[in-house]
Symmetry: C2
Subunit: 193 residues, 2 copies
DNA sequence: TGTACATCAGTGAACGCGCGTTCACTGATGTAC
DNA sequence: TGTACATCAGTGAACGCGCGTTCACTGATGTAC
């Protein structure tokens, strides 16, 4: 039953992509290897031909998940009118669509709490993805020393994450809507140049 | 083996307090009823004399956890010099101690992601606690229409939550320290009056 | 106030189930000649 | 290029374990008289 190298690569990618989706929807602890592999049309034993253990998958999920968010930031900025790049990123991140589709969205609000409890391997993968995301925001922030721009990006990014997290946790649609709206306005007024 | 009403009440409180602590440290899914009850010197069967099911406990944990954070906010403000109340709350929330002791800290960064996936019962408890927390911040925000003060409190609160979440997830101590410092400075400059 | 009985907090065995991981096996792929 | 053999992606049974919940039971507490 051995498969070609190319096919193994494809299978590997499919496992990671399905894991990113499922982890965001159900949490890391909420997803079992057997169910994950079933969704990829494989049996659970095969998992260990691709990953040393579940923890190694979690690390890859961090990388993949944060890279996806990075792509979304780049796309939002590209499609925005000149000067409106940062507002476009903020509007995308704090949209009702993003709030209502955690399985398709950023891993930071969905998995951040769990990741803090995981191994150094996982947290290092997270840290690297976070730093790249930060650099993606820097070009759109007010002129100044690079360090000041990074500082601003850090404040903005954690604000976005917290706002989305809380907008999802809360059970009152009007309140949730208000949280998104208020935070969009706050970050656009504070950081848009 | 029946116990007095007062003793049942005391037991109930002990279960909830131990659950708040364990949930913050290990996540909701990371804590089992048996282990929880063992820490309270009871057997797992007795759990159901106090709670319909685990979900009912989670709802109580939300209430208790957010009430604790509310108390901390009140205390921080009381102990602060006049005019420095908001800075004191921000400094407390974004302290290295708070980051390093999630078991003793706010439930929003630790449990927020999981709570978003829980029942209406749990999310309603969370929503009520969140609203009370918000009102605790309002008095310390810039004068203006009550709605504007609430808006500012919402932006501040989600920023605090996101910053603590990320400062814990990241694996680089210098970066984590910088995240706390930058966010403290940002929120104090933006909101302190 | 004292007695008889119902209530029920807590015990501990048992339920079915899913978890992460291991392992002997299969047969197609990759490689050495 | 063709053949012989080693490799290894994926299978599926099995491992020990912990999960949430139920339930018959116990004996002290609460209550009705």
């Amino acid at each position: 039953m051995r498969r070609s190298k190319a096919e193994k690569q494809r299978t590997h990618t499919r496992i990671v992509q399905e894991a990113v989706r499922q982890f965001r929807a159900e949490g890391i602890q909420g997803v079992g290897i057997a169910e994950l592999m079933r969704q990829v049309d494989l049996t659970h034993g095969g998992f260990y031909a691709h990953f040393k253990n579940k923890e190694a998958l979690v690390a890859e999920v961090c990388r993949e998940g944060l890279a996806e968010t990075e792509d979304y930031f780049v796309q939002a900025a590209q499609q925005a009118a000149p000067g409106a790049e940062l507002a476009a990123i903020i509007d995308f991140y704090l949209s009702a669509y993003h709030r209502d589709h955690p399985a398709l969205g950023c891993v930071m609000p969905t998995l951040g709490g769990e990741i803090a409890r995981h191994s150094a391997e996982v947290r290092t993968a997270f840290t690297e993805g976070y730093q790249r995301l930060l650099q993606q925001l820097v070009p759109w922030l007010a002129n100044g020393a690079p360090e000041e721009q990074e500082d601003a990006a850090m404040a903005l990014l954690s604000g976005l994450v917290g706002a989305l997290l809380l907008a999802r946790a809360v059970n009152d649609p009007a309140l949730s809507e208000r949280m998104l709206r208020v935070n969009r306005a706050f970050y656009e007024q504070t950081f848009a140049r």
